[in-house]
Symmetry: C2
Subunit: 182 residues, 2 copies
Amino acid sequence: KHRKGVNFSDRGMTLEQKINESNKYYLMEEIAVVHKKPTPIQIVKVDYPKRSKAVIREAYFRQASTTDYNGVYKGYYLDFEAKETRNKTNFPLKNFHDHQIFHLDECLKQQGICFTIIRFASLERYFVTPASFVIHAYREKDKSSMTLKEIESHSYEIKSGFRPTLPYLEAVDKLIADRKSE
Amino acid sequence: KHRKGVNFSDRGMTLEQKINESNKYYLMEEIAVVHKKPTPIQIVKVDYPKRSKAVIREAYFRQASTTDYNGVYKGYYLDFEAKETRNKTNFPLKNFHDHQIFHLDECLKQQGICFTIIRFASLERYFVTPASFVIHAYREKDKSSMTLKEIESHSYEIKSGFRPTLPYLEAVDKLIADRKSE
Ligand SMILES: [Mg+2]
Ligand SMILES: [Mg+2]
């Protein structure tokens, strides 16, 4: 593996790295503008050394209030959360946080295109699942996971490739078409 | 004025504080979902003390690649940058950074609703200006500022008030109407 700036091989890339690479490609080709949101940090102490850049010396992780990614594509607002599991037959719903589900729901009410990208790492399979299904599953009483079968039947599967590494907008096109035919 | 978890007076609030308050109101009322992007930080060293939360001990500010705010409103993607000046007759274009102008331009190409909110602090006046005008001014040769007159004639002025503190979506409605009539 030789990497510099961009990965030569997608082996060993995390889901987030693949999405970030894909977003760079989409931006460069002017196909879409999607960015990962920075982790929110509460900064307490900063040193300003002479002749050198500011150093944060005390800071804490804060609770995010949104999902990982959002952006714009053909006039549509996109919002999504990316998650991985090593499980082979189901995705545990505890991997989602309340604030992520709440945020996806709020964005849906504003007619955003909202979804999750779930990677089954052991199977090397990727699913783009509409947020409406995930929210419903998350809120269902006594339901602790979505089975692979459920995910298969409610999602668009995408294949990891090259340029972009993870062509998730193909699935987004289908979500947009589904919405139009509703 | 008595609020809870909110500033008691809007005197002394910065532009960003006013926008953040407004966004809370818009979210609570399910009018729009707009969040400020966290400052991107490169984390180098984290301590994990026993029985207490993780402390970031060395980190650096990174260059942002987007504007301050984005979100979704009635299906529209919103993207904007907020800026203040104490000047009384013009707004210096050097207050914008290349990456902000680039980002606004990329989002415009994807049909986002893109704009700036400029506060003339000494005048207590607020303007919502379409990104297309700001980008054009920024790229004009030998132009170092936008005059107040130019801003007045290319913007929708908004008034600071109560619930929301800064009702910028009123101006956004006009930008959307303008786009439709183009
Ligand atoms: Mg994630
Ligand atoms: Mg700003």
